[in-house]
């Protein structure tokens, strides 16, 4: 079970690519890697989930935590390029109505 994380920094924005399976084993590593990105004021974090092959409540928990913290620091979290599977999960849990989530990078993350 593998997960890879790649980050591209661009001024106040960070683009994060996550690859692989996010579960109880890999979620703590993901949280650790993302947490410091939410410390700054006005930060925009965009996470590309195209290559995430598995996600469950442990991964959703990481994104919700990051979302809350970024919001309280006037920052923004965008989740982009979700597969149908992942989209379904955000839909089922109602997170689709709260968070900035899109399935298609062409929209610019909206």
């Amino acid at each position: 079970m593998k997960m890879n994380i790649n980050k591209q920094y661009k001024e106040k924005e960070v683009l994060v690519f996550v690859e692989g399976e996010i579960d109880a084993f890999t979620a703590p590593k993901l949280r650790e890697e993302l947490w410091h990105l939410s410390e700054k004021e006005n930060a925009t974090v965009t996470i590309n989930l195209k290559e995430v092959t598995y996600l469950d409540s442990t991964g959703l928990g990481v994104f919700v935590g990051l979302f809350k913290r970024l919001n309280s620091n006037n920052g923004e979290l965008k989740l982009i390029e979700l597969s149908n599977r992942l989209y379904k999960l955000f839909e089922m849990t109602g997170l689709i109505n709260i968070m900035d989530i899109c399935v298609n990078s062409e929209d610019g993350g909206r």
């Binding site: 399976e21 109880a24 390029e81 149908n84 089922m92």
Partner: protein, 159 residues
């Protein structure tokens, strides 16, 4: 008694091992004929139950065990996840679960997280038993005798 195959796994309650359970399950569910979508749903359900056993039932690295039982029928898959570390008497435990309508134990447990909610949403039948460790019983029919939650648009992965 209906004919079924029974496959059981016992493993240390560690997050490292949940991926192995998913692989085993996907082998079982695929060979039963579940669709890709259903296999993915089953993977989430069994992972959530295992995650709970790992995170709530044992203090970190206490050497606890999780037992997962797969009851394979012609038309459905039953899964039990128990953190007592003991083997199942699958049918006896099923009998003890009582009628489906009285599944209040689920609500009782579901304090904060999304795990049990996802299990309930993705499976056709869920029951939780709460003596001498937690046992989660989950069942899914092969032909999806279950309504859809909302409409999922046919959104492509990329354009």
């Amino acid at each position: 008694m209906e004919v079924m195959d029974y496959i059981e796994m016992k493993l240390p309650a560690k997050p490292d091992n949940i991926g192995i359970v998913r692989l085993t399950l996907s082998g079982i569910a695929s060979s039963m004929g579940f669709t890709y979508e259903d296999v993915e749903d089953l993977k989430i359900a069994v992972s959530e139950a295992c995650t709970n056993s790992v995170q709530h039932a044992y203090d970190n690295n206490e050497g606890g065990e999780v037992v997962i039982g797969f009851g394979i029928y012609k038309d459905k898959l039953e899964m039990m996840v128990a953190d007592s570390g003991r083997s199942f008497n699958f049918n006896r435990i099923k009998a003890e679960l009582g009628p489906y309508t009285e599944s209040s134990t689920v609500d009782q447990l579901a304090v904060g997280g999304l795990g049990l909610y996802l299990i309930e949403t993705l499976m056709d039948e869920v029951r939780v038993m709460n003596h001498s460790g937690v046992t989660v019983y989950m069942m899914k029919y092969l032909n999806g005798e279950r309504e859809n939650y909302g409409t999922i648009n046919p959104i492509g992965k990329t354009v």
